[in-house]
Amino acid sequence: MWGADWQFRFTQRRYLRRCNNSVMRSYLQSDFPSRGTDYRQVEYLAVDLEMTGLNSSSDHILSIGFVPIVEQKVVVSGAKHIYINSDQGVGQSAVIHGIHDRDIEEATPLSEAMALLLEALQGKVLLLHCAQLDLAFLQQACKGIYHSSLLVPVVDTMALEDQRLHRMGLERGSESVRLGDCRKRYNLPNYLAHNALIDAVATAELFLAQMRYRFGTHPSALRQILSVR
């Protein structure tokens, strides 16, 4: 998406010129870390979404959970868990997510939820497990609300795990890269409950573990871990 810092800033300015929404404008005006920054000095926002399905054009977001990482520590005070209000009912996915229609009725409109997310994401790197899926839904939401794409540096813990397993000489697909299975490899506790915020925290902890295993206490540039698409 962006090969160099100047390209990112260039896109940032281009988006800014076209955008007249105040939330998106202040997001785009924030300073994002350059690719050469030591990854430990970068702030991240671990995000997880619960959706009604896997198709970003027909399904929608039920809830958003996020938690920041600062100085390689998960900062619980920055965590939020937002239930999204939507016209459609929850349907079958209630079984999976434990979210029921009554939770949704008193819930926050998507536009407000996205405003909270973008505010928290200012100047940070977006951290996702299986980025492609969640990112598609976030892009869809931004297009609908701000008529703009979401410009954001992304780190994908699933892709990092894939790389690691590949480097260890394991064939792709031979080991599970599901969040829970990845966590087991780092002796991380098993969370029984399952919601957007717990999974965001779980992703954040997995990321800390991956970084410890990959770089130990040595510095490394952010570009080493950014997802390239």
Binding site: S77, P189, Y213
Partner: protein, 618 residues
């Protein structure tokens, strides 16, 4: 709520940890919100503690060690455990270091949050002040006469609470008291909180003698506002309460709800497990039955010593002291009965009693050494003496030796000259088969009788054994047959089937190899030390072992012995027969690591032994 800031994974974990479980819901949410989470890898040391700002660290997963600046181990911390609080409490700079033993997550709370929680919650404040005091006293060794004072009410094995509702009738409750064989019931309200107490005495005084009906409700006869204690109180405090108010029943509460009843009998029992008391009592018994009664308290003695965190070495010595006292008292009773011995004799203890490392399960291993002045006819006397003592020990729970190593066996009841001959044949014409069962004889100690006879025998043994290469090589070859239960991939090797499936024998595979090593070093230079740790120290002063190797072996011996004692204590608590079979999967990950380290030490020491004593002979 549509937007929530509560991270349930963090809050739920903290709510399981004392003292966080004592916080109100609002305080708990505030605490969990302030948490920062970090991850560390095994071996990390450098960048964990933030020396510029002290914090409270809560271990969420993994295992950590706190060491002082000289590397001395201060504390091992596992999930739910804390460190960092001393600097927060004292304001002194952080001087300790942290070592990560196993990958894990650390929750951190900064100084402000910690201070707020302390001022908001008294239990929270008290917990960390006490924890700090405990850490300071970490180095203070156990003192045997003191442990009763530190025992808590929850440590005493008292019966589970028998409760009743206040609307129940006196008749119904009296029946239940009979069925449950208790002398009191605790009356509880709808919330299961204590509201009264009814004892046998109340039934007598307030029901029968006042001529009340059997269908009188409990509320009319119970004692309201009964004096009670929390399960965290000290036994000592409970004793004072009982004496002060002249009562014999104390309800034990957890947050107002009855969990057990502490009776005066429980307190008397707890005193009985004081070793000084026990040995004093032994000396007063004139019959085997009397000794038998006292020996029933030995399991409780063991349990209370384990709770008091006595070292395995101290526990072994104390339990052996009790066995020695029992043996001596039995011998005195026998002499009282049979008359004075015709010639001098010495009672010999072998094996674990000889080494002073007895545990909950100890068979008898003993023998009788008689002066060479004995005549053929004198043996009848000594046989009767031996029978009395061996039977008495068996009655007291020290089973007959399955291998027959007891003074009643003719071979092990001999004049000095025959004992010498026996030892010299083991030493001078060794075969590993003959030596296989002989090693316990080389751990011998005289527990009663003529010490001169014993020293005479011991001197002969030591002189013959020291420097005897063929004998030592055979002994070593036998010792090396028992190896620690470690597989090639540093995994535990366990029994795959049978009665002790998934376990290994801690005595056979862990402690005996160390005893063997110590014995061989001791015999090689002819020292008279019997105790394994003393033998190892002696080996250092004789330059057979380096100080470091000896310390490692001593630590390994202590650690494995301690695990074994704790295992036996657990089994005793559950009413099972104590044994040596440990299932490693029941250990915490930290203990597993340490056990592997201990076994590695034993394996190294065995290799060193092989090089030194077999020299390719075997």
């Amino acid at each position: 709520m549509t937007i929530s800031v509560e991270v349930s994974a963090v809050k739920n974990f903290l709510s399981q940890c004392t003292p966080f479980n004592q916080l109100t819901e609002a305080q708990l949410i505030a605490a969990s919100t302030d948490v920062q989470i970090a991850y560390y890898r095994a071996g990390d040391t450098t960048d964990i503690l933030d020396y510029s700002s002290p914090r409270l660290y809560v271990v969420r997963s993994g295992a950590f060690e706190v060491r002082d600046n000289e590397g001395q181990l201060l504390d091992r911390v596992e999930p739910g455990g804390y460190f960092g609080y001393p600097s927060l409490l004292t304001g002194h700079a952080i001087t300790n270091r942290l070592v990560v033993i196993e990958d894990g997550l650390l929750y951190q709370l900064d100084e402000d949050s910690f201070r707020q929680l302390r001022s908001a919650s008294r239990p929270f404040d008290r917990f960390f002040n006490q924890a700090h005091a405990k850490r300071l006293h970490h180095a203070v060794r156990f003192r045997e006469q003191n442990y009763l004072l530190t025992l808590r009410v929850s440590d005493l094995s008292s019966r589970k609470a028998v409760t009743a509702q206040s609307v129940e009738t006196v008749a119904a409750v009296a029946r239940r008291m009979t069925d449950e064989r208790v002398s009191s019931v605790m009356v509880v309200d709808d919330n299961n909180k204590l509201c009264g107490l009814v004892t046998d005495r109340d039934l007598r005084v307030r029901v029968v003698s006042e001529g009340r009906n059997a269908d009188t409700p409990l509320s009319e006869v119970m004692t309201e506002d009964a004096i009670s204690v929390s399960q965290e109180s000290l036994v000592f405090e409970s004793m004072l309460l009982m004496t002060e108010h002249n009562i014999h029943h104390l309800p034990v509460l957890n947050e107002g709800r009855p969990v057990a009843m502490l009776t005066a009998t429980d307190l008397i029992k707890s005193q009985k497990s004081d070793p000084v008391f026990l040995i004093g009592e032994i000396g007063r018994q004139q019959t085997v039955e009397g000794l038998q009664n006292i020996s029933r308290d030995i399991p409780e003695l063991l349990r209370s010593l384990i709770r008091a965190e006595a070292s395995a070495d101290q526990i072994g010595r104390l339990l052996t002291t009790v066995t020695d006292a029992l043996t001596r008292q039995l011998l005195q009773q026998a002499i009282e009965k049979l008359g004075k011995p015709p010639v001098p004799f010495a009672w010999l203890a072998f094996g674990s009693q000889g080494r002073q490392d007895q545990t909950a399960i100890s068979d008898q291993d003993n023998g009788l050494l008689v002066s060479d002045a004995m005549t053929q006819d004198d043996d009848a006397y000594f046989k009767a003496l031996a029978t009395y003592v061996n039977d008495g020990l068996d009655a007291c729970g020290y089973c007959y030796c399955p291998g027959g190593v007891m003074a009643t066996t003719d071979t092990w009841r001999q004049p000095l000259v025959s004992w010498k001959k026996q030892f010299l044949s083991w030493i001078n014409q060794p075969s590993s088969k003959a030596l296989m069962h002989a090693s316990i004889f080389f751990d011998m100690r005289c527990t009663y009788g003529n010490q001169k006879l014993f020293h005479d025998l011991q001197k002969t043994v030591c002189e013959a054994a020291s420097g005897n290469e063929i004998f030592l090589a055979n002994l070593t070859a036998n010792a090396l047959k028992l190896t620690p239960p470690m597989g090639f991939f540093k995994n535990f090797v366990i029994d795959r089937g049978g009665e002790h499936k998934n376990t290994f024998d801690m005595k056979l595979r862990g402690i005996m190899p160390i005893n063997d090593i110590a014995r061989i070093y001791a015999l090689s230079v002819g020292t008279e030390q019997i105790h394994t740790l003393e033998r190892l120290k002696e080996a250092v002063s004789r330059k057979l072992l380096t100080l470091k190797d000896a310390r490692n072996l001593i630590d390994a011996h202590e650690f494995i012995s301690r695990l074994r004692l704790e295992h036996q204590g657990e089994r005793l608590k559950e009413g099972q027969k104590p044994d040596n079979h440990l299932d490693p999967s029941t250990l915490s990950s930290l203990s597993r690591h340490q056990l592997k380290d201990a076994f590695a030490v034993v394996t190294d020491a065995q290799s060193a032994l092989r090089v030194r004593f077999t020299r390719g002979l075997m």
